[in-house]
Symmetry: C2
Subunit: 287 residues, 2 copies
């Protein structure tokens, strides 16, 4: 029930599904309860009520802890149930979890999501999914009900969807760095960076991604964060871990990771990750 | 009369203007002559016929040499004439040239251009312009006739338009590197990079820039080049020169410059600059 989980759960409820919710911090489920969702006091009790479970958590360790143990999903879901996993995690973690689920006669589907909280509320998310065919077939209409304007099927290979998600977050972070450096160069050269980005947003980079982030970066509106520098750093680390596993050098990803690390080192871990290109400026200010 | 100059000249002629053309290599003017343009055998003779001159050349030195000397534009244009300069050059060069033109009672307008040759032929170019107001007012309809779907006015500051152009080429090069690294990571991770980019091209990166370049990069169709690695290196050097002049660090621009340099060092200077992220792969192959 975080910033994405809440609007996704609302969408599912408003699409007419019976909804059971669980969050470690119970207060975060209050808005769902008000809409008629049943709040469960443990993962185990939720698992006993549901045949399809959606999870969205911040990292690989949190996802594993939800699955494992006597109170986890694996031991408490009925055989034949499906776990639709929306978190951004390592492809290898998805593979490991799929194997574990199979041992319990459960289905594990990788279904990470693209979109900020506003997009979730507007049902404009994009899901990428991979896993066994019956689970994909079962999940597709549910992911649309969850707010997916697009549900993109990457086939049987369980690692595919999380690989695509890591590539996507790398691409977005690359755009943030590029926007930031271009805006800084323009400003320092005596050009109004807003005029410049007004032009680019209508021409070469005519997409909501560049339009929204160039506004945030030019106005330096890094708080409240829709996606924090801390999470950005986590994702760049996942990208580089996957690159190392795949034997691929990614110099731009390395640069982005360094800059995200610098932001976090500067105590800016809770501002929006779009501040990435300012990491060294913050550093200069604070030293 | 290069790959952009030719379709721009065709557009001007087909818009009904009297057109005089000059190119160092005369054979490149043949297609224009066939359309009714008058081919001049020197810059001086062209300058004596025209009150508005458009130039588009590959670098700062070539542009200066067109302007200077007994046979150059400065000494041969009639007072009150306008020079519309479309080349990608250093902002400081534009400033120096504007001062020189003023000494000869000539107007210098910075009007660099965004778009590949296909876009020029389709009249879908975007011009950015800066310089004195009368010259901007005079040039705007002419730039539309030259194929400008958009003509963006950056005001009096003569250095503004070339700064914006350098920022734009930096942004495009950043996208090329990001596309290339993402495609390599996907492929090495067992994901079909075409499927992945088919998705990104419909969603987060739904623009012709990403659609066209992801196709070129995935198919490794780096020849024939629409814009060469050699020109890409030239532009990244201009970006870093401007950054140094403005006192701005640009770590991503530095990375792009290194990769462009590597391509050129590998003897790949005439392939398309979109090969930028493969620079180190080529290097491995050839060593």
């Amino acid at each position: 029930m975080g910033s994405l989980g809440t609007p996704i759960a609302v969408n599912l409820k408003e699409s007419g599904h019976d909804l059971y919710v669980y969050n470690r911090t119970v207060s975060k489920t209050a808005s769902l309860a008000a809409k008629g969702a049943v709040v469960c006091n443990s993962i185990a009790s939720l698992a006993k009520e549901c045949t399809v479970v959606f999870t969205i958590v911040s990292d690989d360790a949190a996802l594993k802890s939800i699955c494992e143990g006597d109170q986890g999903l694996l031991k408490n879901l009925a055989a034949g149930s499906t776990h639709v996993s929306m978190s951004t995690i390592l492809p290898q973690t998805a593979k490991d979890l799929a194997v574990l689920h199979e041992q319990y006669q459960l289905h594990y589907l990788a279904a990470p999501v693209f979109g900020r909280p506003e997009a979730a509320a507007a049902r404009k998310l994009n899901f990428v999914m991979s896993g066994q065919q019956p689970a994909r077939k079962q999940a597709e209409p549910l992911l649309k009900d969850a707010g997916g304007a697009g549900v993109f099927d990457f086939g049987d290979n369980i690692t595919a969807a999380n690989t695509v998600k890591l590539c996507g977050n790398f691409l977005i972070a690359s755009a943030l760095e590029a926007i930031g450096e271009s805006a800084a160069l323009a400003t320092r050269s005596g050009v109004d960076a807003s005029d410049m980005w007004n032009m680019f947003s209508q021409t070469l980079f005519n997409t909501p991604l560049y339009q929204n982030y160039s506004n945030i970066i030019l106005q330096q509106k890094f708080e409240p964060a829709a996606f924090t520098a801390k999470l950005g750093l986590k994702d760049m680390n996942l990208v580089l871990q996957q690159a190392a596993a795949a034997g691929q050098q990614m110099p731009l990803a390395s640069l982005l990771k360094e800059n995200m690390q610098q932001l976090v080192n500067n105590g800016q871990e809770n501002i929006d990750w779009s501040a990435v290109s300012t990491a060294h400026q913050f550093s200069r200010v604070s030293n």
